[in-house]
Symmetry: C2
Subunit: 536 residues, 2 copies
């Protein structure tokens, strides 16, 4: 039978081969954001700046970040990114830049910009792929300064250090400086480095960022002198743990009995809840976690979902807050009315998350275009793949006609409107490793819609009031136009003084068409508006 | 200085950790298509069927594929996928299902459905994550039958074989059967397993596919008894090789001199071209490839791009062909007019690719909705992430008003229209590992637009003719309505017989409003239409 085949399983055997994760991403570099030279430059800067913000935040240092970009040939740029962070200890430098899927953040349940140990490695990979050159890393933790010249051994996914030297550090400098050359194209509009930095400055007002680009210097000054509260690391919540993960936790635990396992390895499980779970699952309290059968663990997992537990702690999150959102929008957008909403934290798959929304309205914003959308995830601006983002789904599924905007079919609202969204979470489900859009998890879209509706309702009071005002003004103008004629006729009919009649008619018109001063809607009116709307 | 920090670089040191690629995808399983239970079931079936089609195609076997799906608990399903392919040799089974980034297709430059050694592994990963259970693999290459029960050791990305047995194979069965249980939700509309199988049957008419689902049996019979020509493996073309890759090839080559390197490791480089490249780069013909300096290799790389070489061979591709596309659409769509276009092969980053487009028009298709879009890549239907796909970009950027359709802003055309696209390539740049959308590479979008325009022009002749016909018919009806009255008046005025006048008027009307029989537009008219349109 086999002899008629074009290729046999035996022939195929020799073709089986292991691929390193670096090879995979080198070939699929568009997954990391390197599908064209414009986006590639932006991605390198973004990965560097995000890492610098994470590192400084974590160490409690007010970030100073300096980026320079200079053209070396027709299609190549030299990029440097320098921060005043805590630096990286000498022994870890090769891995932090030369081994993909290596980092500090993957297993940690707390909000941060990076997570995967892929971002900066991807930049190194792209640099050496397009120029064949090594990158230069200079770092210090405050002691000696270490300088590495290195590449990634792609086939092995291992660092390849070319040279390494130690310098004296008289000034006790600490931080990290990355230098690399890469193929790229520089632009300044839309999905560009300046736009990314501008939005980064909105969501990180405590950062001081200097950019020296091909067309001069841009500076984003620190407007807040306080670093936000550090998010705390949490343990997984029983409601969000899949059975496969739980079984791994059972076999890796250092605890000696199942009660210890439940109370130590999970958040929000006290002695009482642990006993309740065990009873439901018909497992002895003293049972060794490593000796559970598959059936035991299935029952344990089910019971964990059934016992009532409080939600996971939310101090692992670091939202922007309504004040910062409003201020950020006021600074960067030309609106006349601003509103911000920070929703209470919510949970999906055991991961706490929080949605925030800001709306800017009117002013100089164009009235005949689709609303401007600014998306953030863990304080990082998302500039690409908007149409594929949970944010977009929430926006187009919200009925903006309720709030006084036109909206056609499955589209974003049109009008002088900007929509800012921030998704803060211990784990952001990005649609690709390039981290440009949030996957459409139902719970996330739902929370986003609630936030948009809440902000939309608040804005609609202003929008509707403004519409009513302009209608009343038109009405009054019409009345006023006819007052002289009507007064004259009435004067003839009644014999009374025309001037008195006119004055009275003017008073009535004014009283009937007088309006609230814009923006000062009364509390009752808010309630009325909210009561009338049925939100879905 | 360091003492004021919240966490020091030294403390962070201990937090650096390597993550296995299996852990990465377990956590980011939405990247593989497992973000919700409905899509998860579809993804498992898709990965299994795609692999079966690849394996049978490669061995030159007409594929028989059987899928069963049965519900085991409220939210779990048992899935089996069985084929009559060449099977997998015993020693490779654990890796083929238990080690991610391990496979036969990654380094090969030829068209195939799978590429990455991630798909089926992802299904195993999802199964054990959501049920905690192992999968069962039964396979034979025609000799003994091997049965494996196995899981993936996620932390190590290594196979964990639980049991293994050998059975006699009296019937000389060969093939592969996969059985696994997983969390899921079964639906039958839109982005569903039946829809995926239906579209798979369109693009693979030589496959016989049986699906036994929760609601009964679905059979897709073989309509073509010939397997398409096997695509051939090619070597990389110099124009598409980045300098980083070329440097790796230089250090890995077994050739002894640079001329040997160029003629052996690349396609379309003969002795003459190789000498030309060396001369341009100022490198001796006898130079040992492993001893090139960085500057040498930079010059070599530049020269490779400058010498005129013919395009890479395209027998690595296996397009559907215009006949098959038209037949597939006729079978599955209720149109009245069909047109298909297979473009000549093109190249991006040295990878040959080919775009095909089919249009179905009229019939029972709704006239007031957006066009139905069917997307395929390497003969695999793409059901998700349409808005983020290069196909979508090409469709919305095409001006469909030229071809007689309404189209608003940046949207797909509206009308009784279905658009089928097929992207065939040695390497498809998917936007995520779940392989549901093609990344927006400029060259790809451009070729797709050209294909859509070509098909659109052909269709427009029919559409415009049909419009003209209906306009003429209305005109004739109006004339005919007035002929009796006009004839009577003329008869009175001239004294001639009313009947003769009527007959003559009828003849004139018929002659002036007579029309071509629909669908038989003449060659001249085709040229005229094409000449009038300026395509961009």
């Amino acid at each position: 039978m086999a002899d008629q085949w074009e290729i046999t399983a035996e022939e195929l055997e020799s073709k089986f081969k292991e691929i390193s994760v670096a090879e995979f991403f080198e070939k699929n570099r568009h997954l990391l954001g390197y599908e064209n030279p414009t986006k590639a430059l932006l991605t390198i800067v973004k990965e560097g700046v995000d890492n610098s913000l994470d590192a400084t935040n974590e160490a409690g240092i007010l970030p100073n970040i300096k980026i320079t970009l200079s053209q070396t040939t027709a299609d190549r740029f030299l990029i440097t990114i320098e921060d005043n962070g805590p630096g990286i200890v000498e022994s870890k430098v090769p891995f932090a830049f030369g081994k993909m899927l290596y980092g500090t953040k993957f297993h940690r349940l707390r909000q941060s910009r990076g997570t995967q140990g892929i971002g900066m490695h991807g930049a190194v990979l792209y640099s050496q792929l397009t120029t064949g050159k090594h990158v230069k890393i200079t770092t210090s933790t405050g002691k000696a300064i270490h300088v590495f010249e290195m590449m990634i051994n792609v086939t092995k996914n291992e660092p390849h250090v070319i040279s390494k030297k130690e310098l004296k550090n008289a000034d006790k400098w600490h931080g990290l400086k990355i230098e690399m050359e890469a193929e790229g194209k520089y632009i300044e509009r839309h999905q560009s480095i300046p736009e990314y930095l501008k939005q980064t400055a909105i969501s990180n007002p405590y950062a001081h960022i200097i950019f020296e680009g091909p067309n001069g210097k841009l500076e984003f000054k620190r407007t807040v002198n306080e670093i936000p509260r550090q998010p705390k690391e949490i343990k997984p919540h029983p409601y969000g743990v899949e059975i496969g993960i739980m079984r791994r936790m059972l076999s890796n635990t250092k605890t000696k009995n199942i009660i210890g396992f439940l109370t130590t390895e999970f958040s929000r499980v006290g002695r009482g809840s642990a006993e309740q779970i065990c009873k439901l699952a018909k497992i002895e309290f003293s049972q060794n976690p490593k000796q559970l059968t598959h059936e035991d663990s299935e029952r344990l997992h089910k019971s964990m979902q059934m016992v009532k537990l409080i939600s996971p702690p939310t101090n692992c999150l670091s939202p922007l807050g309504e004040k910062l959102i409003t201020e950020g929008m006021k600074k960067e957008l030309s609106g006349e009315f601003f509103v911000a909403v920070t929703r209470p934290p919510s949970v999906y798959r055991g991961n706490p998350f929080q949605v925030e929304v800001g709306l800017a309205y009117g002013g100089q914003m164009p009235a005949d275009q689709s609303a401007l959308v600014l998306r953030f995830a863990n304080k990082v601006p998302l500039l690409y793949h908007q149409s594929d983002c949970a944010t977009n789904e929430a926006i187009v599924e919200t009925d903006w006609r309720r709030y006084g905007f036109s909206q056609s079919g499955n589209a974003a609202p049109a009008g002088p409107l900007a929509i800012l969204t921030h998704f803060a979470s211990v784990w952001v489900p990005y649609t690709s490793e390039g981290k440009q859009a949030i996957a459409n998890y139902t719970e996330i879209v739902k929370e986003m819609k609630l936030a948009l509706q809440e902000a939309g309702r608040k804005l609609s009071i202003y929008v509707h009031q403004k519409k009513r005002d302009s209608e009343r003004q038109i009405k009054r103008q019409i009345f006023e136009r006819y007052i002289p004629i009507v007064s004259e006729s009435l004067s003839k009919l009644t014999g009374k003084d025309k001037k008195i009649i006119m004055k009275k008619l003017e008073d009535i018109t004014k009283k009937k068409t007088d309006f609230l001063i814009v923006g000062e809607a009364k509390e009752e009116e808010v309630k009325e508006v909210e009561g009338n709307k049925e939100e879905t």
